[in-house]
Symmetry: D2
Subunit: 110 residues, 4 copies
Amino acid sequence: MDDLIKEIISFRDERDWEQFHNPKDLAISLVLEASELLENFQWKSSEQAIDINFKHIQDELADVLIYSLMLANDLKIDVKEAILSKLEKNKQKYPVEKFKGTSKKYTEIE
Amino acid sequence: MDDLIKEIISFRDERDWEQFHNPKDLAISLVLEASELLENFQWKSSEQAIDINFKHIQDELADVLIYSLMLANDLKIDVKEAILSKLEKNKQKYPVEKFKGTSKKYTEIE
Amino acid sequence: MDDLIKEIISFRDERDWEQFHNPKDLAISLVLEASELLENFQWKSSEQAIDINFKHIQDELADVLIYSLMLANDLKIDVKEAILSKLEKNKQKYPVEKFKGTSKKYTEIE
Amino acid sequence: MDDLIKEIISFRDERDWEQFHNPKDLAISLVLEASELLENFQWKSSEQAIDINFKHIQDELADVLIYSLMLANDLKIDVKEAILSKLEKNKQKYPVEKFKGTSKKYTEIE
């Protein structure tokens, strides 16, 4: 992961783009890339989308990850730690006994 | 990274949620989480947002990463490979000579 | 408004597109168009964006409205009524005495 | 439509919120509301979503429209004109002969 982040930041530094990359615009960019990923599924079933657009899906997912890792880097967030700590919270929020086999949100279950 | 993906998938398997997690709904979820991340910056400068909402930003970024890794896993996309291959394409699309120090898009530059 | 909706639906009917326009994909499309609108502001201040991209902003905003009115039509939602009823709820949620001159969310104010 | 816009702007003026409502943050808000609308369809078919979440869908769609009309007002965009002019462009982009009965994008058709 650290090597990947280094590659991403060096790509940015070569272009001198850090000056534009404030966290608010990075968060905007993350939404834009996630939308471009979703666009591959518009008017389609999952199967059709993967059939027709697999290469695009892979590229857009990579863009989402690139911006995520950039933002983490700039905010000095440790990616691994952040994920494990959020999974821990999700475990509290969605205990197995209550949420096994249901897609309900925690707000929809008493 | 592989260990993180294992943790995420085991969280899902314990809840028997794979049945709901078709790629189209995962792509939707990715947009929703990216939007929740962005919500922390609404009506605020980057500095104000980080000051007030740092913990939330970290958690939402983790959610974006969790869904990204889940989707990569389900589509059998190698995350590292996908990122490096996309960076390579971006290098072609944004050659240093033309794009150093400018935030223009490749469509805005002749 | 009714005339506008008629124009929009007749555009769709001429192309026989209603078959693809289930509400879930229309909601997806709405997010995609809102993101394309936002893209015009990426890496820019409001002023720069309007200066450079005004025509695009107008077109993307129109697309957001077109999909919104289409979805309202398909779900038999009366647009005027829906807006006025939501404004009423917002007035309850954000009483003038508490929220005048502050950009805080209702969750951030006791 | 003009009356609706007046209601919306008067709601804002009573709260003195115009100071926060720069176009960039309004465009962000539009994405956030469109995402909240879409959230009602997450993990569900259109039918299930409408069955369970109709009231929420109506309210979120109203929020999308409220922000759209606010942004149009602030940028002095005539909503009706913008929609009709965009429909005209879409008619050029998607001529009936080529696009009748297909959900392909114009980039997918030669």
